[in-house]
Structures are given as C-alpha cells and as structure tokens.
C-alpha cells in the first residue's frame, strides 16, 4: 500500500526551481532515504511530501488523498504525518509523555486516551522509563526516541525525518536508525529520511539521490530481497 506518492512535482521559489519534476512513492513498511548535496532540494521534497508546502505543479497524495483537494492541511498533517528533525523537536516545559500526547489532544482526542496512546508509542520506541522526564533531563538519543514516539502516536503511518541523527554520535545514530527500521518492519510505518550521511542512508530499502532538483537516473539503489 502506497502511503505517500509524489507525481511530477515541481516547486519554484521565485526564479529558483527547487524541484524540477520529481516522482517518488513510499509504501507501508518501507524506509526510503533521500541524499544529495546542499541545495539539491531535499528539504523542499520533504516539506511537500508532508503537506507543509504545496507544489507549483504536479501532485502529492497521502494515503490516497490528493493534497490539492484538502482545504485543511494542518488537520491532515496532525492525523497522518509525523515529523522528526535534528533538533527543536520537543517542548521544554512538557514531559516526554505530554509531548507525545500534545498533537493527539490538539486533534480532539480525550486526555486519558491520548495518554494511553502516548505510553504505547513510548514503549514501542524504547522510551517507557523516561515518560515523566522533561526534555532537558534527556540525552540527545532519548530526545529523538521521544520525537519518534510522538511522530507515530495514534494512527499516523507516515514519518518524515530530516537529518534526525544530525547532532548524535554514530553509535546513538545507529540506535535511532534501528528504531526507525523496526517501526517500518514491525508497525508498517512508511519513513522518508533525509540524510547526508551514507552510513544512515544504508539502513533504507531504497536510496534516491537528488541532483539540482531532479532524482539522478539509475541512482535508485534498491536493496535486493529486502523483505
């Protein structure tokens, strides 16, 4: 099942063509990595895939819905899409559990239900014991675990990760990739990962290279017999 599909997507910022016709699909249970030099359009691609931005032409579908026909993108994002960034992930005045609950509560889920979901998501991310702690009491790796739990709490199946290992040492970065991988393999999440580090891209089922707003041909490295 395709969770997100981009078809011939372009995005222009004034005179600058950030994306020049990109088609890409990510299925449930699949981890796709996007690599490319700075300015190649990686972040633009991620923003379009998650409905944070709209394409100049072409279309984007999330779980079969064309985003062009969705009036309230914010609501769709809260229900279907989770984000993990390098930092600026968690709200400092809320505990780990409250951070995970927040987007669900904003979406009208009752507090008790949101807490149950949050505890499940934290347990799946290996962060159950730190549920009551505040972000400043957590290590970088623990913070990313909480961010991943928040991104996947509830029914959300699409996770967009922009350099989630950016500030971490390689052993902790590997743990985060192991966690993302298990969310794909065990929970059927679809993950689109932007990274400039080959060692993390290598955890993906497919690696695509962006060059000047285009996917480099023959650059799609598919892992044979991935599943």
């Amino acid at each position: 099942m395709t969770v997100v599909r981009l078809r011939e997507v372009t995005r222009e910022h004034g005179q600058v063509r950030a994306l020049r016709g990109v088609s890409l699909e990510v299925s449930a249970g699949e981890l796709v990595a996007v690599m490319g030099p700075s300015g190649s359009g990686k972040s633009t691609l991620l923003n379009l895939a998650g409905g944070l931005d709209r394409p100049t032409s072409g279309n984007v579908e999330i779980e079969g819905r064309d985003l062009a026909g969705v009036p309230d993108l914010a609501a769709l994002r809260r229900r279907s899409v989770g984000y993990v960034f390098q930092d600026l992930n968690l709200i400092p005045s809320l505990t780990a559990a409250e951070n995970v609950m927040l987007p669900r509560e904003l979406d009208g889920v009752r507090s008790r239900q949101a807490r149950t979901e949050a505890m499940t998501a934290l347990a799946e991310a290996g962060a159950e014991e730190i549920a009551g702690r505040f972000p400043e009491e957590l290590s970088g790796g623990q913070r990313q675990r909480v961010a991943i739990a928040r991104a996947l709490a509830g029914e959300r199946r699409l996770l967009l990760a922009d350099e989630p290992t950016g500030a971490l040492d390689t052993a902790t970065g590997d743990e985060i990739l192991r966690l993302l991988r298990s969310r794909c393999d065990d929970a059927g999440a679809a993950v689109l990962l932007v990274t400039h580090e080959p060692r993390y891209a290598a955890w993906a089922d497919r690696v695509v290279y962006l060059r000047d707003g285009l996917i480099a041909e023959s650059g799609s490295v598919r892992l044979e017999s991935a599943r």
């Binding site: 030099p37 192991r178 991988r181 580090e197 080959p198 060692r199 891209a201 290598a202 955890w203 993906a204 690696v207 290279y209 480099a216 023959s218 650059g219 490295v221 892992l223």
Partner: protein, 172 residues
C-alpha cells in the same frame, strides 16, 4: 600478518585445535575474511617453526592441540602495540580511475562517480544488513570498520563530484 596474529590471539585464550581456530577466527571477524583449513595448518606449522606456538598434546577425541609460547605472547603484544601503516594497502584502483576520468577530456566524470556511488551504497546496505543480523560484539565492530571505510569512499566521491563540477563551471 593478520592470520598469524589472529591465531596467536585466539591461542592466548588456551590451547586449541586447527578446525576450532578456523571457526573462531571467522566468527570473530564476521566471516569477512574466510579461512580455509589448509591456511590454518600452514600458518600453525610456520608459527611452530618460529617458536611462537608449540604442540600441546591431543584432546579426548585425538585432535592435535596447539598452545602459545612465551615468545608468541611477546610477539602478540608487539603486534597489538604497533599501528597499521596506511602505505601497507594495495594501489587504489578507484582513485586511479577517477584521476584518469578527470584528466581525460571526453569522459563524463559525473557518470563515473555516480556508477561508483551506486555500487558503494549497495555494499553499504549489505554490510548494514549483516550488522543488524550479527549478535557478537567483535563481529559488529568488524562490520562497523567496513561500514566506516565504505562511507569514507562515498564522502570522497561526493567531494570529487562537487569539486570537479565547480572547476568545470569556472572554466566555461
């Protein structure tokens, strides 16, 4: 050389027979460098000739055991204390290929780099898959070593692409 010292290191844990050395060597290096049993016995007889190992009787099933000698222990310590020289590596075919592609006027450097990058990423994916399946610490660290090397090559290729592109743009 690494097989010699690998065998000495295993024997430091107690006397062992030939087949056992082969299995343990492969297990601790994640089967990255497969050994055949002939290599093990050839290496053992050279180590014995040099006084680094000595026959140590047989186990209850009659298999010939070998033990490390005091000279062997000294040699092993020397090996662990000596860094591996960068120049011990063979000529780098990839560096030569990229240099020739850049020097040749009619070669698409970007395409050469991209072909290599795709192949290196496949290697990196296979190593990562092996690492996910590995359960011993020694195996994981050997695979990590190979992953860091493949990653360094990948970074160098990105660098080659960026630099050669910039220099081409400057010249046109």
């Amino acid at each position: 050389m690494s097989i010699r010292h690998g065998i000495l290191a295993l024997l430091r844990g107690g006397p062992r027979y030939g087949y056992q050395l082969r299995v343990e060597f492969e297990a601790s290096t994640a089967a990255t460098w497969p050994l055949n049993i002939g290599q093990v016995y050839t290496t053992l007889s050279r180590l014995e000739r040099d006084g680094l190992v000595t026959p140590a009787g047989a186990d209850e099933q009659g298999r010939a055991l070998y033990a490390i000698t005091e000279t062997g222990r000294v040699e092993l310590e020397r090996w662990f204390a000596t860094p591996v020289a960068q120049s011990d590596r063979p000529r780098d075919e990839l560096a030569i290929k990229i240099a020739m592609a850049v020097a040749g006027a009619d070669v698409d450097v970007g395409a050469v780099i991209h072909t290599q990058r795709t192949a290196t990423m496949r290697t990196l994916q296979a190593l990562t898959r092996a690492k996910r399946a590995a359960d011993g610490l020694a195996q994981r660290l050997v695979l990590d070593g190979l992953i860091f090397k493949a990653e360094a090559e990948q970074r160098w290729l990105d660098h080659c692409e960026a630099v050669s592109k910039a220099s081409k743009e400057k010249n046109t």
